[in-house]
């Protein structure tokens, strides 16, 4: 398991070298988007309109942060469960999105899209919202302000700690539950 320091925007070369289990420290710009924001992004695409940020080489963080207290750029900011974005992810990967960041399993179509478009799925530690917020140095709402916690934010990150869960070669890190050992098979 290797360790990488990567900068955004991410390239095919950046992604192709990654294997499930690798640790990545990401620096640069990432965008927050979760359930409601994804729906709005796809509605814009359907209407042939421009998105509020460039998908090419981009990384989307599935996060709805808590409000920033005085003196901090953002509140707690850990990942939300990713499967809810699976119905949108393959399309966004096909348009140049290189990475998504969240927690939990992805469906088969999303995993396939990562192989087809040289993209990756990173895991961040769920529930470590206070800790992860330390890697976010700036945060600005750039779209869908009305969604509150679900608005799209442009965030500057420094050495954001990530784990490669699904790589672009079909590899996956999650453990397969041992039902036999648990006595139900």
């Amino acid at each position: 398991m290797a360790e990488y320091r990567l900068n955004t925007p991410l390239t095919d070369e950046d992604i192709a070298q990654l294997k499930a289990g690798d640790v990545v420290f990401l620096t640069g710009t990432i965008y927050s988007a979760r359930d409601a924001a994804h729906k709005k992004l796809v509605d814009l695409l359907d209407a042939g309109k421009e998105l509020p940020f460039d998908l090419k080489g981009a990384a989307i963080y599935y996060v709805g942060p808590s409000p920033a207290p005085p003196g901090r750029p953002i509140g707690a900011a850990g990942p939300t469960t990713s499967y809810r974005m699976d119905s949108y992810a393959p399309r966004l990967y096909s348009l140049g999105l290189k990475a998504t960041i969240g927690k939990g399993k992805r469906d088969a179509a999303t995993r396939q899209a990562m192989q087809d478009y040289t993209a990756v799925y990173f895991g961040a530690t769920g529930g470590a919202g206070a800790l992860l917020s330390n890697s976010i140095v700036e945060s600005t709402v750039i779209a869908f302000d009305e969604l509150g916690p679900e608005a799209i934010r442009e965030m500057k990150v420094e050495d954001f700690p990530l784990l490669v869960i699904n790589d672009s070669h079909g590899g996956e890190l999650y453990a397969v539950p041992d039902r036999k050992a648990a006595g139900i098979e």
Binding site: G21, D35, A36, V63, G64, P65, S66, P67, A68, P69, R72, G75, A76, A77, G78, T80, T81, Y83, K103, G104, K105, G123, T125, G126, G127, A128, G129, A130, L131, S133, N134, L147, G148, P149, E150, L163, L173, Y174, A175, P177, D178, R179, A181, A182, G183, I184
Partner: protein, 279 residues
Amino acid sequence: MRTIQTSDIIDAVAKMCVSSNTELPADVRAKLEKAMAEETSPSAKEVLRQLLENADLAFDTKLPLCQDCGLAVYFVEVGDEVRIEGGNLRDAINEGTRKGYADGYLRKSACDPLSRANTGDGTPAVIHFDFVPGDKLKISYMAKGGGAENMSRVTMLAPAQGWEGIKKFVINRVAEAGPNPCPPTVIGVGIGGTFEHAAKIAKRGLLRKLDDVHPDPDIAAKEKELEDAINALGIGPMGLGGKTTVLGVKITMEPCHLASLPLAVNVQCHSQRHEEVIL
């Protein structure tokens, strides 16, 4: 009759919302530390180390432990010798929630189920009332995050399925949830009652301390049996593999209809944020 002012209720509830979301309960910390000592996989250890560092940081900075500060759920025991003065009890709890979520910079996650429009202030809370003897008012708060709650299930088993059927369903649920609910989780199991009551008692069980032992030795043994079996699944912290998939299993059992065997599994994340206040 003893009189309790709604202003005192509002303040107590607000305070509890903030402290619960920023201070990891001592019993949860102890379990996470124990798990870290027992894990051998480096990734499992690293996840647990991050969770403990996160708890320290949240305590020091007063940032929430998790950005998902939950839907506010309350179990309220109202003594029959208590009179509430200055307004309605439900309104007071909602007002306290509103205040706590604003004061603590907590995320407001309550929204319309279809339009998805956020109510903007963390309310309405989900409140369960119970009426008990005495002159006290006990309010238990739980921050119920969406990721873990989504992995919960209610089912109606056939009576013949018995304990084996219950066991299989609970373990399968945790296996299917896998990494999604932020393992290591705490599992509340409600057995009996009716369709809706099973779900309620499954959640109420999550108010117990992780290190307590059920007073009924038979149920205590069943909790241990489920905990060991679930940990044998090897899902591990964040689903990366390891020995710790659950920090605890809490069973609540009540009588049911002779035709029924209602079963509910309520999944709670590793933060297990809950607190109670007695007025």
